[in-house]
Amino acid sequence: MLYARLIASRLFKAVIVLFLIIIFNFFLIQMAPGDPAAIMAGEAGATDAEFLRQLTERFGLDQPLHVQLWRYVSGVAMLDFGFSYRQQVPVLDLILERLPATLLLTGTAFVLSLVLGIVAGSLAAARVKKPSGSLIMALALVFYATPLFWVALMAVVLFSVYLDWLPAYGMYTVGAGHTGLAMALDVGKHLILPATTLALFFMAIYTRMTRASMLEAAQQDYVKTARAKGLAPRVIQRRHVLRNALLPIITLAGLQAGQMVGGAILTETVFAWPGIGRLMYEALQQRDYNLLLGIFFFSAALVIVFNIVTDLVYRLADPRIKEGS
């Protein structure tokens, strides 16, 4: 009951936030120089006034700004995100077509980084004064500090070019005609490099954070009590230390999950992964306003959803947190 009320109030706020985001994005995009008609004419390498006039009229860009805004907002209210100027396809179709690829990539990276990060962090916390603990932390620091695109390129050079173990790019082997299980294995093979690359950075953060908050929790009085009770060290670590150390990690995981739609531009580009991040980058380059606004909308919606989920998970992890406190 409590959850139902909480979710309802959050959803109400979310609608207002989304509406404001749409308006803000609309004007933000208008501020970028260039317009889609001119860019399409430019790519053709030849143009005349007639061509520009046709496109501008077709895209509705000849209308005053407030008319364009009204058209867009009333469209979105009915889940009509308009047409991509450049690709002549409904924006919703384009986004839904690319969404599974992105969610597969970012979702895998999310689970991978969270699980490995917490495990590595716990290990490092348990071995705080041993060389193995320092080694974990050193590695975490390296992955934290190295730019993603460089890691990606080096991974390709090592695993695809020299060792020839893994495919360098794409989501499946073009022309192989795999189906069923073979297709799933093929996609899985293509997923390893980009998902690992994407996971490394967050894994490093989770490792560092898990270790820090576990060390802090280990100083608390209830841990001393538990030890005095005679509990086994492993049980103390898991049930008392780790559980109390989880809250900051949940916060961070919520942030990472919110970026799952638009946060993989670099990885998707380097590995030619056909996801939303690439679509967004290309839409930006081409000033494909409708498409860009549509992707912004979905990203924003996902951030809001995961903020709500994060709040719910807080309550599961720590029953002391209640509405309004």
């Binding site: 970028a32 120089p33 260039g34 317009d35 001119a38 860019i39 399409m40 004419a41 430019g42 790519e43 053709a44 390498g45 030849a46 143009t47 005349d48 006034a49 007639e50 061509f51 520009l52 046709q54 077709r58 450049r86 690709q87 002549q88 384009l94 077509e97 690319r98 690829a101 390129l153 390709v156 050079v157 695809s160 070019v161 020839d164 495919p167 360098a168 790019y169 794409g170 989501m171 499946y172 073009v174 022309g175 580009t269 380097v270 590995f271 030619a272 992964w273 056909p274 996801g275 690439r278 679509l279 290309e282 380059q285 081409q286 000033r287």
Partner: protein
Amino acid sequence: MKTPLAITIAAAALTATSAVAEEPREGGVIDTIIQPEPPGLVLGMIQNAPTRTVAGNIYEGLLRYTTDLEPMPQLAESWEVSDDGRTWTFHLRDDVSWHDGEHFTAEDVVFSADVFHRELNPSARAVLQHVESIEAIDDYTVAFTLKEPFGPFLISFEAGTFTMVPKHIYEGTEFRDNEANNHPIGTGPFEFEKWDRGTVIQLVKNEDYYEEDLPYLDGINWHIIPDGASRAVAYENGTIDVLPYGTVENFDIPRLTEMDNTCVTDHGNEYFSPFAMLWMNNREGPTADKRFRQAVMYAMDREFARNVLWNGLGTVPLGAFGSNAKFQNEDLAPFDHDPDRARELLDEMGYDGEEVRLLPLPYGETWTRWAEAVQQNLKEVGINVRTEATDVGGWNQRLGDWDYDLAFTYLYQYGDPALGISRTYLSSNIEKGSPWNNVEGYENPKVDELFNQAATAHPEAKREALYQEVQEILQEDVPVGWLLELGFPTIYRCDVKNLVTSGVGVNDGFKDAWLDK
């Protein structure tokens, strides 16, 4: 100085001519790259480079052109012109079908030219404004009657510029909203199979193609790989067989061409013959003074750019007319790299060190480096240059609004000065909002007159004389900087045979290609 790559290409040309003609083999699929992903595949509706490259194998024009830009039969078997140069008659093949099985006739030609292209296609409109009427004389004969003779008429029928589209699909519909745009129907050697956006465009063999035995290949996969380094890797690890021009960065080219079983050609680009230029704003600032513009020409070391940034490929142009356009005046005094002469000219005009803004072309690393090289050349002679980087949208807008002093660009030459060259200098072509017209704002009534006369003069000798004269004036006025006729190599595995057979290269070349493995 010749770089190793230029030598490799020259050597390849020698061995190619001495090789014994081999018997082509059937079968096999070629994996190649398209960069960037095209917005759509209906030629005529969309004319950008990636659309031309993929769809040029789906659609056809009435003619093809050799690497010397001589017309070859395609959908038209033969053609003739009346003595006054005003009526062109094309005799079509009678055995051609669209990919959906409908028969191709003269009605399709009339519809494509007179309705479809007149409405949608700015490059075709530039030619069609000289056409008075288009008439189907019978099912397989079409006559074009011109308002006056038009020099470049016969070179305008390339598939990408004057595509033949099916009348039975488009007539009476809203062209841009037609459902068929998602599944293009042409007459070409390959049919559209599948487009997995962001991953691949697949074409398959047209089993009913009208030319005997062609095509040899079973299909073409156009991979879409957004990152330049990843594209190079895809060739290195063997997934990709053919790298069309412009798909890898120039600095990767020497490494790739040194690989085993790798061939390279700089042919297949003659029709477009991209001409890199430096817009110089003729309206205001120091660039409005022609002595300043001449000084820029003397200051730039164009040989260096060619040898270092473009791997020794391409041609440093003498003046406004490139070597692949007709009627080049070879007697013009060249602009050699001469910093002293540049300084003299700047002194003479009293250049006071006013800052000039330079816009690089936002098309990748080579162009950024080129802008740096030019900036350094200009600084050496005392010109105060500031580079202002933009993205493609910003670059379009700045040029369309004439908000620049110097700016890089490149333009296609289309085989004839009346199509690809005069547009840059005609004052009637000054209009805000486009980066492809007379952006520099050059106005010279004499030049206008000569260009306009030359376009419609008849016969060729008259055109020649007029173009020679206009080149002399342009050489003196330097309305823009002439940088380089770009040489874009096509890199491919040596077991891909007969790939580049026309002046547009891979844009229509897969028809003749075969795999020797």
